[in-house]
Symmetry: D2
Subunit: 282 residues, 4 copies
């Protein structure tokens, strides 16, 4: 397979950005496989994503050459080699459905990433990591302080050179500095249709309120719990005949879908964050 790249750009909007970038790419023989643009007219910002093949520059040369252009337009930009797959750590607690779903999609090559480790605060998750031949690490939150446990997790993420952290129903609240370090690189699946039912036990809240649809939200983790930029949401219809247990069961499918879809977008560099909102070039 030949080399392929992705170029993502955010910058203040002005005339000539597309032309300058397209001209730069054409001059270096790049073939544009896919291109997406978005202009936020209210905020005057411009967002762009290119998927590229056949370029005559290696990555170092590209980055050096493009930096000048980028400076002219005050771009925040990233150049991704598609072959260099992101390294993803999966964190889980007690519920295995999201963990198993992500591992299976990864095994089927439906998710373009490496998964070098699974980390959990419950030993029961080990069997799922074992099935897929992924190293498993148990982190104890009961016999040490939360600070010590998160330090252990941080060390593992560092050791495995993790790019993206996926909280596959990991039910512990991350400290602020951790959130900042993995800003826009830590993805959570919340088991409600945010902003409805923040906090713990959203299915109980939904059951009490008598809603007719329940949902799940895939979002980046920030210091403000359940307030991070939303990547993807999904819902499923319920009725009075559904018990709380039925809602949990139906909700699990929502969670799996929303997490898989959001993670996939993230891994393909399709998600650009601006403030507390996302642009998702689906």
């Amino acid at each position: 397979m030949q080399a392929r790249y992705r170029l993502t750009i955010r910058c203040p909007d002005q005339v000539g950005i597309v032309a300058a970038v397209a001209d730069f790419l054409a001059r270096h023989g790049a073939s544009i496989v896919e291109a997406n643009h978005h202009t936020d007219l209210e905020e005057g910002w411009f967002f762009m994503r290119h998927e590229i093949s056949d370029i005559q520059l290696d990555s170092a040369a590209f980055q050096a050459a493009f930096a000048q252009l980028a400076e002219r337009f005050q771009m925040r930009w990233r150049w991704h080699e598609i072959q260099q797959r992101q390294r993803v750590a999966l964190l889980a607690s007690k519920e295995p459905h999201c963990l198993l779903d992500v591992l299976h999609r990864w095994q089927c090559e439906d998710l373009p990433c490496d998964i070098p480790c699974v980390i959990a605060n419950h030993e029961a998750m080990k069997q799922y990591a074992d099935w897929f031949g992924v190293p498993f690490h148990f982190v104890d939150f009961n016999h040490q302080s939360s600070t010590e446990a998160f330090a252990e997790i941080a060390a593992l993420l560092k050791q495995y050179e993790i790019d993206t952290v996926v909280l596959a129903r990991f039910m512990r609240i991350f400290p602020s500095d951790f959130c900042q370090q993995y800003r826009h690189r830590m993805i959570n699946i919340h088991h409600s249709f945010l902003p409805s039912f923040v906090g713990a036990k959203p299915y109980h809240q939904a059951y009490e309120r008598g809603v007719k649809l329940i949902g799940a939200t895939c979002h980046y983790v920030t210091e403000d719990l359940d307030e991070g930029p939303i990547i993807e949401q999904d819902v499923v219809r319920i009725s009075h005949a559904d018990s709380l247990a039925d809602m949990v069961r139906k909700g699990k499918d929502c969670e799996r879908r929303a997490l898989a879809a959001g993670l996939r977008m993230h891994l393909q560099d399709r998600v650009l964050v601006h403030g507390h909102k996302t642009i998702v070039f689906a």
Copy 2:
């Protein structure tokens, strides 16, 4: 068309309710066209709806005879003659899409009710009432007090012998006693997926929060604004490319669908309220 009836029942759950009711109906030659049951195991309540044809009793005789049975099981029950269509008043403000949609479905005989009047606090709604030949009443909220305006509405509802009030995007908050008088007989369409985005300007809130789905909620009006029992909800997918205006446009379709579906269920006596939740025998 022969006479058809609906019998709706709520009572504490116990053995023998279904048998007693079914036996009563069979003894009077009733043919059960449709039957729905629901047992709330947590609360120990039982809910039942029957659609009946061919019964050998007239309504007065039925009600007298059934009352004894009902007392034995502490039932709250209602006997509805289907031919006696509910009289529905439509209230609107500036946005005509829900008003027009309900009127059209009614004209096509997709909604089994009479619509003897349309009431609005904006004159612009008159044309839609006129199209369908429905009397229109403008109620002025600017040159008189809110109390006086609501008194005017109350008088109209009384004069037209209204059974059910539909707030088809009527943007005024009803006083408590009004809500109580039309308890479970006044239906609102809220332009968000409740409990997300209560209050005014839900689309603005949704836009700011960056959600990926927006929705609408059809609910009974109670003293607690946006907290009434939910009858129906619907959602539609949006993306970063949707402006606030796009969201409003897409949301309108949701509102029309949720209101029409919820109203239809209500008119067919399919909605039983229990506490702040609904049983909807769809």
Copy 3:
């Protein structure tokens, strides 16, 4: 857990069926946990499902007593002990997503059945059966005739005392007599929104036709390929940007959902077949 039962009934419609059944149940102290009725007014048939607890008869006594009543109304009926879980065989070929999904839901106790064996015509499926500790049987379709291979499968189903056969993307066409033996007890997942795109390669056909939604269909297997009674269908939105591979990937989610939902309904005796259509008491 106390004993619970399900009673399913199909019979020509007439006055008094519900009363007779409800009276029978009440006389034996049965508590009705859930009841569903459907009258097909066109065909004059009546369908009923009860979920029952606390009855004072054991199953043998119930069946003897109920038979008289059943005869009076020409009922086709079944009495199911819920504790007696159905024994389900999973058959697969190359694609593991449906197999894995069903096994996981079963492990989580989201599917009320036993799964005593997995059968496949590809060895690669063995690992999934192994993960869940379910005996695996490879049936060779290459080095023996199709007739011999199906005989092998038939023997396994008999040996394991299988009630329901699930074709979790098993890509061989069953002989007529096999279909008849497992009539309404063999469930297939077809990877299209039937009746669109019958036969092999439905995703290719959908891609060629340029449809904007793709789907999956869960149905009972009959002699007429892809024509059996439909239990459940699901769809997912696609666009011109989706390659054939994207469609296959998105379709897999549809298949998993439709199969799990359909199988669940079947296992709870919620599916009554009438002609080539199903009544599904969801």
Copy 4:
């Protein structure tokens, strides 16, 4: 409002197209408000849509200047002035729901077009045209030949200088030459999820087959009935409890949604046809 334009391009794929176009636009001071690309890797075709403001050329000058560039890349292209709204004729038969829905969306300025006339083969449609103040023309298919009737329609379309013809449940089959003349400019709403249930009475077919979802398809009209390029599709869930009448009622909502969505895409020049498939830059 300042002038805004849309540029749509189809051409064989090669390196440098985007750069050439973007450079051309930038040299003339054009601001790109929205841009969409699609590369059909299998067929080696490239598709592009730009929405542009502030360009320093008038339309004639643009077209002359761009023609040279277009020739170099063998482009099929169109330059649309957004202010020059398309002129749309609505054709209907007996069912008013699609007609009324399009007229209402147009009145609310949710559909960017002019609607100079409504044509129908049933007089009952006149009232809807009248409500919105749109000239109505009855074309008689009973007292003249089909050829004569279609000639009458053709004359009306010419007289009103119609750009796009919308068949809002117009139940007559157009002759081949008519289809060719309005190739990719005549939009139909078919009341099934194509390719399921082609031909007349799709709801009857769906009812007979026992499907669990029904749908609607918005497509360009071609000589091959129900085979034209699909623009948009939508579905809605049904159950055994839905009578044929219920299916028709639920299907109508699908039809309205699919037609409105497809027409909107068409009017915004978001639909590019390639062979018998569409690229829809939603």
